[in-house]
């Protein structure tokens, strides 16, 4: 691994701290300099930063370690941006996959260079020059060769098998690196006394599936979950109870509680308290459709008492 300081024009902070694989800077000719490119992130469908190196032969993804309250001392300067960028090798198939899937809806065999096109991200055609692209397209598409021309058509079956293999390999990597995948502890920095044996295979599969879902679309992620024969987990968010409203009735309104005890002279004479700045700004908030805090603490059935 190499740590490098680089310069980029037209950005407010003109240097950043990068950890990159040696292969990134290992270029033979000056026109093969690695370049940052913006490509469509298959998981979020928005732009993400990637890097093409070795004359477009290798794709790297760019991730940033970003935590509050960090800065760098670089040589004799201070860099306000305390992020640490990681440039790590990535399989270009993940980025090609969405284009193939889209074209696959037409059901025709097509040359890939006609498929991997994007008006928003014209750079994406360069993905095809990656060494791994041409040699591994058969993992996600059926191939036909006519003369010297090759045609491809997206295959869901192949893709699922390919992704399944990826998941299995992630599981191996997770186990090898002792990465805790259970639900219990949420921090990676805790030292665990218990052995990892209480993590079952399903935990590993789910965790690996979750990781791979960072690289594929949501639909594909769901399909893969099915393919791995893992039942979908329902999020507890959706089971929130509907907000209750007091039922209207014709009966005369009666006070639920005896308020007269607060009616003593000293209680009423108290001047209204001054609100703090925080309370004032809280008071301005739109509270429509919200239940008061106190409603969560009162007994449920008492309201309908006769």
């Amino acid at each position: 691994m190499a740590t490098k300081k680089k310069r980029a024009p037209n950005v407010q902070n003109d240097s950043w701290v990068v950890v990159a694989a040696d292969s990134v800077i290992d270029t033979k000719s000056p026109d093969e300099d690695p370049a940052f490119v913006r490509l469509r992130n298959p998981s979020t469908d928005a732009a993400s930063l990637y890097m093409l190196g070795s004359g477009d032969a290798q794709l790297y993804e760019v991730k940033a370690f970003d935590e509050d309250f960090h800065s760098w001392f670089v040589g004799q300067t201070v860099q306000r941006d305390g992020r640490l960028l990681f440039i790590t090798p990535m399989d270009p198939l993940y980025l090609i996959l969405p284009y193939l899937m889209k074209a696959g809806k037409e059901g025709k065999f097509q040359p890939v260079d006609q498929v991997v096109m994007d008006e928003e991200y014209p750079v994406c055609s360069r993905l095809l020059s990656c060494t791994r692209s041409s040699t591994s397209l058969h993992h996600i598409a059926e191939e036909k060769e006519v003369g010297s021309l090759r045609f491809h058509r997206y295959s869901e079956e192949k893709t699922m098998n390919w992704l399944k293999k990826k998941v299995e390999r992630i599981v191996i990597a997770l186990k090898k690196r002792n990465i805790y995948v259970g639900e219990g502890v949420k921090s990676t920095t805790y030292v665990r006394v218990k052995s990892e044996s209480d993590c079952c295979e399903e935990d590993y599969l789910r965790y690996a599936h979750g990781l791979i879902s960072e690289y594929i679309s949501e639909d594909l992620s769901k399909a893969l979950l099915k393919h791995l024969q893992l039942p979908e987990l329902t999020s507890p968010k959706e089971t929130e109870p509907p907000s209750k409203k007091r039922k209207l009735s014709d009966k005369p309104v009666e006070a639920g509680e005896d308020y007269t005890k607060f009616n003593s002279a000293d209680f009423t004479r108290k001047p209204p308290k001054k609100m703090t700045a925080a309370q004032k700004s809280l008071a301005k908030v739109d509270k429509t459709g919200m239940r008061p805090m106190s409603s969560f603490f009162s007994p449920k059935a008492k309201a309908e008492k006769k």
Binding site: L49, V62, F65, F69, V78, L85, G210, A278, D286, K287
Partner: protein, 308 residues
Amino acid sequence: MDLSPFDKDNSVSCRLASQVPDICKTEDCCLGIDEAGRGPVLGPMVYGICFCPVSKKEQLKNLKVADSKTLTEAERENLFQKLDEARNYVGWALQVLSPNTISTSMLQRTKYNLNALSHDTAIGLVQYALDCGVQLKEIYVDTVGPADKYEDKLSKLFPGISVTVRPKADSLFPIVSAASICAKVARDRVVKGWNFTEELGEVDPDYGSGYPNDPKTKAWLLKYLDPVFGYPQFVRFSWSTAQTLMDSKAVTVHWDDDEEDGEKAAQRQKNRSMLSYFNASAGGNNQNPTHQTHRFLTERRLKNLNTL
């Protein structure tokens, strides 16, 4: 007085001591504690103890050691010389708390205030005297904080020794005066010959008394304010004088234990304030709200980038 151990590394706390007179190991002794340099924003705080046999109290009185504050620097040096000459029955020990020690103590995550630091230093010196075999029977201390509480604390720590904590002890008991002279002389010498570890070139030595209200000190502080690093280690960063100047003239530095609140702080920290949960249009900052980053990445604080 050999200050070289402190000069070698003036970023830490350092103990300097005289030889312990033999007589102090056999006869009942009294000990005085005082400090110099509590208030200044510059330089170290020096804690001093002085001890002598109870039987020699009168002799000490005859040296006319008096409260160091009433004396000129030359008189103090002179009196220290006399104490040094009386080394067959007077012993002393000093703890030089560097300004850096004071800054880091007071500004650390679990705050360690100046009073606690003072108490612990005094206790450490008394323990040092005991460890050297001084037969302590009486301790006299100029108070730091409420006198009765301090007296209680010391009495409990050193059972069998009578502890007297008094405000203005340095003018009441000659042994405390002696301690105050040792401390003050050491501080004066350290401040005068301060060895700046920072590469500042020729440092303007005209920093006045070092007290925050001294205009010379203030001017010096302004002159040596670095926008990034603040001050040389000679300055106590925990003093509000230094902090105020850094707040107004230096680059803002945020620490994760800064006591800030309010909407602005939350925004700056990219946290969501409580208020944002009450707004109808919450959660618009993410391009794809349904997408939840996997915990492998969030636990490691790893994020995708879309620009550099």
